[in-house]
């Protein structure tokens, strides 16, 4: 049996560690670069609105609010109607109008609401901030105009503040950092397999 001195063992461990760390770094960098290359950013602009009926002396306030709240899913469906999108298109600046037909507008638009609130939020998601802002504002205006034409008994639409550059959300996918970490973890694994098998064959087989 070959006896190994402490310094020899340290060297072997050191070489293994070197290979492992190297592979970790290389794979991490590679994955990170691929992710960065494939990166795309989505811009989400949002605008709030309320659709409600006005109170008058005869109505029961709480049941009116309830009724308005129950209509919200209906309004959300109307929002996704082509008629509204067509109207919204007219409000868009020429440049954006060229790229976005009514169908494209509808694809980029979603809406959401909270269970205890009367507020409906319109979201527009595109790859350009200005476009998202323009679309969401246009949709708000279009909905306000079109709703009474579509449903005579609907409430009146109050649009809250317009979306602008300052309140746009951005999502950048895929995250280069996350990919780099996964890459590094995989690199370490590959490094371990390679360096350990070389060490095994070199030192543990006569």
């Amino acid at each position: 049996m070959k006896k190994y001195s402490v310094s020899e063992i340290k060297k072997i461990i050191g070489k293994n560690l070197l290979v492992i760390i190297l592979f970790g770094l290389v794979f991490g960098a590679a994955f990170g670069l691929v992710a960065k290359h494939r990166q795309s950013t989505d811009y989400i602009a949002s605008r709030n609105m309320i659709v409600s009926h006005s109170f008058n002396k005869a109505t029961n306030k709480s049941s009116l609010v309830e009724a308005d709240r129950e209509l919200i899913p209906t309004y959300q469906s109307i929002l996704k109607d082509e008629a509204v999108a067509k109207a919204a298109r007219q409000y868009l600046p020429k440049k954006i109008r060229k790229d976005y037909k009514a169908d494209d507008i509808l694809e980029s638009v979603t809406s959401s609401s909270k269970p205890t609130s009367l507020i409906i939020t319109i979201h527009a998601k595109t790859d350009d901030a200005k476009t998202s802002i323009a679309i969401v504002n246009a949709m708000g205006k279009a909905f306000q105009k079109k709703l009474p034409q579509i449903d005579k008994n609907a409430g009146s639409v109050s649009l809250l503040s317009k979306a602008n550059e300052e309140n746009v959300d951005t999502i950048t996918k895929p995250s280069a950092k996350k990919y780099a970490v996964v890459g590094a973890a995989l690199g370490v694994l590959v490094g371990m397999i390679l360096s350990f098998s070389v060490t095994s064959v070199r030192h543990f087989t006569k």
């Binding site: 049996m1 996964v182 694994l189 371990m192 095994s200 064959v201 030192h203 543990f204 087989t205």
Partner: protein, 408 residues
């Protein structure tokens, strides 16, 4: 006359470190095994624990008084044992503390004797407990698989897969003791045991592990002969899998994504272990030292009740390695995995492939099984400081050296 002779015999038993250790080991093995059975319906676990702590005290005395250590070695051991005690207080789980104490107290004890004792005690106990459970003296917990309606029996142990794990480790101990004699007959016996075990416990993964003993041991035995190049190369790599496999498993658990179909199929194969491991990482971020993790498993009478009444409460970390990292922390993980790798590498350096094979099988088992750290199941970590594992210059004669190096 007989009794007088017996008393004289007992009086003459030498209080060597080795005898003290083997006595302590026997007591702990018996007590810990019973604590894992439905005997706990009659004797509370805390009584078993008290006996164990007494034994640990004796072992600590052995380490610091009887064994010859240099002062810095003692300091290192004290440090590790202190971390073990800390982990016990924080996690309310004494398993690692007990294992560490036995590992470090094993200096000067022949490893052969340890495994022999383990085999005798555990084989006796498992047969006894199985018979008692079948006779109804203690409860034979039975679980049903919801999809296939198959019954799984634990035969006195607290859960069917625990029973299967006991059998697995017993076979490993048998393989260690009879390494030279192991051949086709023994492999057939292992297969028969595996099939019978599956019929009783329906422990799929544990049964596969028992079947894996056969090829891994085969390669190790062939590698002992230097003309079998391929087996040599394969067996020479056994040690690295103790680092690679837990790491890969850890990556799969951390990056587990239920939406991905590949991950989901893997998770099904592993009976949900990836999912629960992932939840464990999210709810209990990994710390340097131990932290408390509340678990609700299927084992025992309470577990069976939960199995029947409220399955949604289930949360258990089955993988020993995930458990090590999440519950016991980074420092203890490095220490335990380090001990396993050192045992394996030391043997590989001497072209001895039995212990690396056993450590590999324990690694594979511990990926899906939580018994790596329990001395009642796994006695093989005790090879770290025990004698007869490393041929040292303290061997008395050349023949003894040859015998030892040929054996392990």
């Amino acid at each position: 006359m007989f009794y007088l002779r017996k008393v004289k015999q007992i009086n003459q038993i030498q209080l060597s470190g080795e005898n003290i250790y083997l006595f302590a080991l026997t007591v702990t093995l018996v007590v810990s095994f019973l604590a894992n059975t439905t005997f706990v319906q009659y004797i509370a676990v805390k009584n078993f624990n008290r006996i164990n702590y007494l034994i640990l005290g004796i072992l600590v005395l052995k380490i610091f008084i009887l064994d010859n250590y240099r002062w810095y070695e003692l300091a290192g051991i004290f440090f590790v044992l202190a971390i073990g005690v800390y982990s016990w207080r924080v996690t309310n789980n004494n398993v690692l503390m007990i294992m560490l104490t036995f590992i470090f107290a094993a200096k000067g004890v022949h490893f052969d004797k340890i495994i022999h004792q383990y085999f005798k005690v555990n084989l006796t106990l498992i047969l006894l407990v199985s018979v008692y459970a079948l006779l109804g003296i203690i409860r034979n917990l039975s679980y049903v698989r919801t999809d296939s309606k198959i019954m799984r029996y634990a035969l006195g142990v607290l859960y069917p897969t625990d029973y299967a794990a006991y059998v697995f480790y017993l076979i490993l101990a048998y393989a260690f003791i009879n390494y030279k004699r192991i051949g086709k007959r023994q492999y057939l016996l292992f297969t028969v045991i595996a099939v019978a075990l599956y019929a009783v416990t329906n422990a799929r993964l544990d049964t596969i592990l028992i079947l894996l003993i056969i090829p891994i041991l085969l390669v190790a035995k062939r590698a002992g002969n230097s003309t079998h190049r391929i087996s040599r190369i394969l067996a020479a790599n056994y040690w690295s899998l103790t680092l690679i496999l837990p790491y890969a498993f850890g990556l799969m658990t951390v990056y587990f994504n239920p939406a991905n179909s590949i991950f989901w199929h893997l998770n099904d194969l592993l009976s949900g272990r990836l999912l629960y491991g992932n939840i464990a990482f999210q709810q209990h971020p990994v710390k340097l030292l131990s932290q408390k993790v509340v678990e609700h498993g299927w084992g025992g009478i309470q577990g069976l009740k939960m199995f029947k009444d409220n399955q949604a409460r289930y949360f258990f970390i089955d993988s020993s390695f995930i458990r090590l990292l999440v519950v016991y922390g980074v420092v203890l993980s490095i220490i335990v995995i380090g001990i396993m790798v050192i045992i394996s590498v030391r043997a590989e350096l001497r072209q001895s492939y039995l212990l690396p094979a056993i450590i590999l099988l324990i690694t594979l088992s511990s990926l899906i099984d939580q018994h790596l750290l329990e001395i009642s199941f796994n006695p093989f970590l005790l090879a770290f400081l025990a004698n007869g594992v490393v041929v040292t210059s303290s061997c008395k004669s050349a023949t003894e050296r040859d015998v030892l190096s040929e054996k392990v």
